[in-house]
Subunit: 141 residues, 2 copies
């Protein structure tokens, strides 16, 4: 039985690492996708909606690394908010956290928020994401 | 103290109705937004992902009334799928249910799906939705 010599092992390990790197790069990007689930105090709902709307708009308009911030509310329970957030990379997200508009949103809404769950997601079809959103951009009001 | 005469009440009620109608029309559209939460059998996951990817692509490419179908999975539990679905109207959605690609997806995945919850949503900022998605379309891979 032939076993790889000890000297071969680091080379095999390196090859393994290279394969992984290639596959991650081929997969598209460092894109960060998540859904934030926010439950808001009922009395503060109107103010929260105005604040999150302003923050989403500023982020999309001012930050190149913010691919999308799309806030929605549940029709049956309007105090339950879900925000689809997509950042170009973790660095873009870290930089978003330091912007004046995000900090204003965070401090303004701190007392309005009952609970916050951040669900990290990944796109199933990252190859045709831009095609999907281009269509949405041309069809949405 | 002056009270509106009984004869005035129907007129006031009618004015109220007209105001509501105007506000709903000004709000934009009949857009239908929802998040489907699908839990998939672990053994069928790979096949499910391929099937939903194909279905989303066909819907976005072939149906003018499909604004977006964007499938994601939870990073921590990849069998938990969430699909952001946006249709131009309820009619567009009803017509989507009759397409060959949707029917193929539905019958192929029936046994793969453990649970399905449909959460009806509404965009918080329907005025700038197209702006949000245009940005996403230009920035996503």
């Amino acid at each position: 039985m032939i076993r790889p010599a000890n000297t071969l092992r680091p080379i095999l390990a390196l090859l393994g690492t290279l394969c992984c790197t290639v596959s991650v790069q081929a997969n598209g990007s460092d894109l960060m996708v998540r859904i934030a689930e926010v439950e808001v105090q009922e009395a503060a709902l109107e103010q929260y909606l105005a604040t999150v709307k302003e923050e989403a708009k500023a982020s999309v308009n001012l930050e190149p690394g913010v691919v999308s911030i799309f806030p929605m509310y549940e029709k049956a329970s309007p105090t339950k908010i879900r925000i689809l957030e997509i950042y170009a990379s973790r660095e873009a997200y870290e930089s978003h956290l330091k912007t004046a508009h995000f900090l204003k949103y965070k401090t303004t809404t701190l007392e309005m928020v009952k609970s916050l769950v951040l669900v990290e997601m990944d796109a199933i079809d990252s190859e045709t994401m831009s095609q999907i959103f281009k269509k949405a951009g041309s069809k949405a009001p």
